[in-house]
Symmetry: C2
Subunit: 171 residues, 2 copies
Amino acid sequence: MAERTASASMGRGDTLLFLTDDHLRRGIEAMFFAYRGFTADPDRILAEQGYGRAHHRAVHFINRSPGTTVNNLLSILGVTKQSLNRVLRTLVEDGLVEARVGTRDKRERHLFLTGEGEVLERALSEAQRNRMRSAFRNAGPDAVAGFRAVLEEMMDPDMRRHYLDGVDHNQ
Amino acid sequence: MAERTASASMGRGDTLLFLTDDHLRRGIEAMFFAYRGFTADPDRILAEQGYGRAHHRAVHFINRSPGTTVNNLLSILGVTKQSLNRVLRTLVEDGLVEARVGTRDKRERHLFLTGEGEVLERALSEAQRNRMRSAFRNAGPDAVAGFRAVLEEMMDPDMRRHYLDGVDHNQ
DNA sequence: CAGTTTATGTCAGCCTTGTTGACTTTCCAA
DNA sequence: TTGGAAAGTCAACAAGGCTGACATAAACTG
């Protein structure tokens, strides 16, 4: 109520109008509904093959950083090694992921997608990119910049570091 | 590579630079990492009380639309009635939610938060709003508009309808 | 009024994916 | 050479999805 009055009066609090509880609730629901859409297409592909979201996440980050170690993947995904191990075991058994013993440190396993793994990764990421591309195109470049700015601010500092690690510094 | 060349050359394809696969992958990871942050604070509160995210979702939408029916909640949450029922049953047993038999249609149950339910809702939504507020404030109003535009475009049409239903038309 | 549809609840069983705890093997590094 | 880190494994458990079958009451329909 107070916020709406401020809105009508166009007082100096006006610049903070986007911080009212109502706007925040809208943002919360936007996250909830959008995340459902975000995962819907990959979920369908995964279900066909008897996999779940946990497999998708592993495959995604192994593809992004080929040769990453189990420990690194653990810190990115934020699950226990037992949880991740169960997923990795099925992926290795099914021939989608290869776990090579480290040369420098033989305790470490370096993870790579096999050809078959890359096929699944492409199917999953293409489905997800198609939706993201359509959303980006319809919203426009300025909206996309805002989208990324807000999401980045919403991350926990540790996760934000992992996110920024993924930046392509090669340009 | 081709995109980066285009970027440097500032050619006419420049306006679509935000649609490259690399930008889309960044958007995908932003969603993943941000959603983790988005749920982290409520998850801690819920764990303390022996509840999970499913309870949070039910409590949130009952609070948003007091008197909503089970069927309506089902279509918003997109789960089976068995899943939702398990959650609602515990919430009713614990005295956080009241299910009143409908007056017009006695088959329906209209759901309301009790005083105790409102206490939990406020704790959860305050934690989530605090993070959202901080993210919004740091990113600024234009970024917030873009954030919402992209998320809205990412929703499935059905979910988008539910999202828009939540708009406050009372201003 | 009889029959059908709708809204809800419930039981049983299954799966994925998260958890904790305990234990072993390997092997690097001080 | 010994301590500790990295990785893997086994067991047990819980939340929260799912399907299928069935029950009940109420509303609707012909």
